[in-house]
Amino acid sequence: MEFSDTDKRIVKALQSDFPICSEPYKKIAEDIGISEEALLHRLGEMKETGILRKMGAVLRHMEVGFKANALVVWVVPPERMDEVAVQMCAHPEVTHCYDRNTAPDWPYNFYTMIHMDTQESCIQLAKELSAETGISQYELQFTEKEWKKTSMKYFME
């Protein structure tokens, strides 16, 4: 996929903090050197084609009351994966859901990240997800420490 220099400038300008002011896009457009109208139009296209996943806020989950999070890894038969994904993704507490490859001592091929208020509620939700889908082989991994959490900076080379 090829991106124009303007696209790269848009991505670089938007991956930093978005201005909290009355006309934020106008400010960004001026920095990039394009019109506000052109910027808004291109952002709409980027959203539509999925290049831009989301324009908005991500909160610090601990501070807003979601104090426990667990990575739940599952062993799902490949032919059931799409169907199990639909069931698990329907729960708002499930924020991420991926398939992943396995390794010789690592049989888990399906990953869900769940965010809740306590570890007990994470354990309870995993039980419910298991009962609902019939997937019985799983493991909860609680986060013990966050060593790094940043956003990727694209096109910096």
Binding site: F3, P24, G56
Partner: protein, 151 residues
């Protein structure tokens, strides 16, 4: 600072998405029945108080020509902090967590070539204290939607 019901509504709207209109905060203010000025000043306060990690654009790395993967490392127990610090030095590694089940460190790497990815992997494998490293790449991303509905 405690979140009041106005803050929660505002943060829910902000998480759902900022619109592509010249005055997006005014649009939010209209929805909430307050002035644009109130929205702007309260958002600054909520950000300063640490409730908001980032306001901005979240791109799909695959569609920008990058590729992300999840790596899990088994590490000698007394060297976890040291290895974590070395791992954090890579700008391509954006998240790095210590978890409770067998593999101590779980981290993501976003790279724009296989060559660079392999270089990072082999450098990390060679760090003192690293016992093994799994490359857990994904074919299907079923859901990425980090929204915390505040009630």
């Amino acid at each position: 600072m405690e979140l009041n019901s106005f803050d929660k509504q505002l943060l829910n709207i902000l998480q759902a998405g900022i619109q592509f209109v010249p005055k997006p905060y005014e649009t939010m203010a209209n929805e909430l029945g307050v002035s644009e000025e109130q929205v702007l000043s309260r958002l600054q306060e909520l950000k300063s108080a640490g409730y908001i990690r980032k306001v901005g654009a979240f791109f799909n790395s695959d569609k920008l020509g990058y590729s992300g993967t999840l790596l899990a490392a088994k590490i000698e127990p007394d060297r976890v902090a040291e290895v974590a610090a070395r791992i954090n030095e890579y700008p391509e590694i954006t998240h790095n967590y210590q978890r409770s089940g067998g593999y101590e460190l779980w981290f993501t790497a976003i790279t724009n070539s296989d060559e660079r990815k392999n270089q990072i992997l082999s450098e990390i494998r060679a760090l003192p204290g690293v016992i093994s490293l799994l490359d857990l790449y994904s074919q299907k991303k079923y859901k990425i939607n980090v929204q915390f509905k505040l009630k």
